[in-house]
Amino acid sequence: MPRALVTGNHAAGHALAVAGEANRCARGCAGGAYPITPQTEIIEFLRDYSFTRGRIVPVESEHSAMGVCIGASLAGARAFTASSSNGLAYMTENVFAAGYYRLPIVMIAVNRTLGPPWNIWVDQGDSLALRDAPWLQFYTESHQDLVDTILLAFRVAEDPRVLLPALVAMDGFVTSHTQMVVDLPELSQVDRYLPACRVPHQLRRDHAVTFGGLTWPRETERHRRDIQQAMEQVPQVLAEAIDEFEKVFGRRPHGAISAEHTADAETVLVACNTMARTLRGVVGARRRKGERIGMIKSKLFRPFPRAAILAATAAAKRVGVLDRNHSPGSGGIFWQEIAATLHARPDVLVQDYLVGLGGGDVTPQIIDEIIDDLARRTAAADPVWKEVAA
């Protein structure tokens, strides 16, 4: 694999492009492209790529970008796009449609604050607002994690046991616009890694069916249940996809969650995306001082990996969740999931921290303060607003 110093957006564009190109011997690839900061370089990269059998359609909106993906995927092609923030919000209707259609589309979400008021910095509230859509959701902490996860996402989404679209998120600017050295997958490797994309319900000229017409409650219940069952297959399919990845690329990508130092940890912190990297440094330093502390890097958000979270918190007495998102009237969205997961463990204190909203810089010092706060608590309270300096 060539190692290169690239931005997160470049890395994502490359991964999408080679995944699309790898389907040239099947029905090719297509997608829609519409700009929004901080995602724009991805769709520019795709528009510039010379596909053997592929077309990136420069549409007039995100709603249509997903519309094109839906049409292309229904026609049997590998389909993908990228967006951020208000673009994702504008696209939402077709995001749901793509999932209900069971189309294995892959979308990059470069996390950015929803507006107005306008703020282009990172906040996971945009993609998390889509958590109730029938999509897999992955959150990535680094450029390498991003590239690897995009390839895993295609493989899992297109697996006949799953057949659901997948969203891969990265932090706006912190990942999208910074450079890191990345192992970029080569086409020959991706050719080996990704089987030809097969959409079993592809529209065929000789097959008169109506997809997405009317259904009664009974069929609708079954449809939703099928989606739930497909979601339940994801941990297994993802584990297989990771094993296969290692065989082809010689490197093992991160799994659904990364549980670090949790075996004996009485205090466990949970974070996603680049916050998890900062957290790792803080947790490492505290362990060196003898604290029984660990962390969970939460990558897979849909389906939510409850079993893995329960296992990783087996020794925990306190769990602190860092949420760079806010569900008004409730709190952090990761916290909601973690608290629901640990409902069966009343002995564990679960505390939410809303931190870094709107792109505030979550420094090691802030995380240290959060951990100190968590240690002082005797009972869980409402989500805590942990403001950061401008």
Partner: protein, 302 residues
């Protein structure tokens, strides 16, 4: 001619619009779809249908009243979904036809940005709007295709705004082919669909589609109403190539507009004598004549 005999079941199965569909009696879509099928010579298109009466027509899963592969898109997305389908067909060198079959709500209102963009990109799509001048699916609300004066459930005292000229908007995109269709002019209808099928790129066909339910008209009058609409000049039959070559297919023959209006109770009390419509018809034809004279389609075979 040697015509193979077929059982009813075979005929039904093959038809683009199968019996058992939920269209109201006298719905313009029924004839429109049957003639579309006939003009395509039995070739099965990929159908993309947004939210509208046309998708209810399909019936409930797993049945399909459409005898062709059909995708139900979200309301505003038919041209985007069709862009994806036709792009992949082109990438795989398949000579198929992707048809958007949409109502006026999906065309004039919520879908206009998507439609305009697909036309601007000259996507290889055959777009047909069955314009019933109303939101039929949701029970008869106004759209920007509803004519001035007409009563709908959201214009209970009559609509105060004029109907949007969708043909002019599409022609302004300089698409390869744009034409109007009438369910009272079969030869003209079939010919135009065939021209559209042979043309590559974005093609826009506008069908004035009677909706007895929304128009408060009698089902058996549908064809006569459209015939009157064409004859009185309210709905001109014409076609435009590349946005600049006009051909008028049927000219007004002096039929009074009342013949169209009187049969529809949506007009009751608004245009009883049709006088208000005459000025609109005159204006429309002055404009169309100027364009057709200045930019004739002559020399181009249709």
């Amino acid at each position: 001619m040697n015509v193979a005999l077929r059982t009813d079941a075979e005929t039904y199965c093959d038809a683009l619009l199968r019996p058992g569909n939920t269209n109201c009696a006298g719905c313009g879509m029924s004839l429109g779809l049957r003639w579309l099928d006939e003009a395509l010579g039995g070739e099965k298109p990929f159908m993309v249908i947004p939210a509208c009466c046309g998708i209810v027509t399909a019936g409930a899963f797993p049945t399909s009243a459409y005898g062709a592969p059909t995708a139900a898109s979200t309301f505003a997305s038919a041209p985007a979904v069709a862009s994806g389908i036709s792009a992949v067909a082109d990438l795989n060198d398949e000579d198929s036809v992707t048809v958007c079959w949409t109502g006026d709500g999906g065309t004039y209102d919520i879908g206009i940005a998507t439609l305009s963009a697909a036309a601007e990109r000259n996507e290889n799509i055959l777009y047909i709007c069955y314009d019933n001048e109303i939101y039929g699916n949701t029970g008869g609300q106004r759209s920007s295709a509803t004519p001035e004066g007409v009563r709908t459930s959201t214009t209970p005292r009559g609509k105060s705004e004029r109907k949007k000229d969708m043909m002019a908007i599409m022609i302004a995109h300089r698409i390869p082919y744009a034409a109007t269709l009438s369910i009272a002019h079969r030869d003209d209808f079939l010919r135009k669909v065939r021209v559209a099928r042979k043309t590559r790129g974005f093609r826009f066909l506008l069908l004035l589609s009677p909706c007895p339910t929304g128009w408060k008209a009698e089902a058996e009058q549908s064809v006569d109403l459209i015939d009157a609409a064409v004859r009185c000049g309210l709905f001109p039959l014409y076609e435009v190539f590349d946005g600049v070559r006009y051909r008028i297919n049927v000219r007004p023959d002096g039929t009074p507009v009342d013949q169209y209006v009187a049969g529809q109770r949506r007009y009751t009390g608004i245009h009883t004598d049709g006088s208000a419509l005459h000025a609109r018809i005159d204006e429309q034809w002055r404009l169309l004549n100027v364009l057709a004279e200045a930019f004739p389609a002559d020399g181009r075979s249709a």
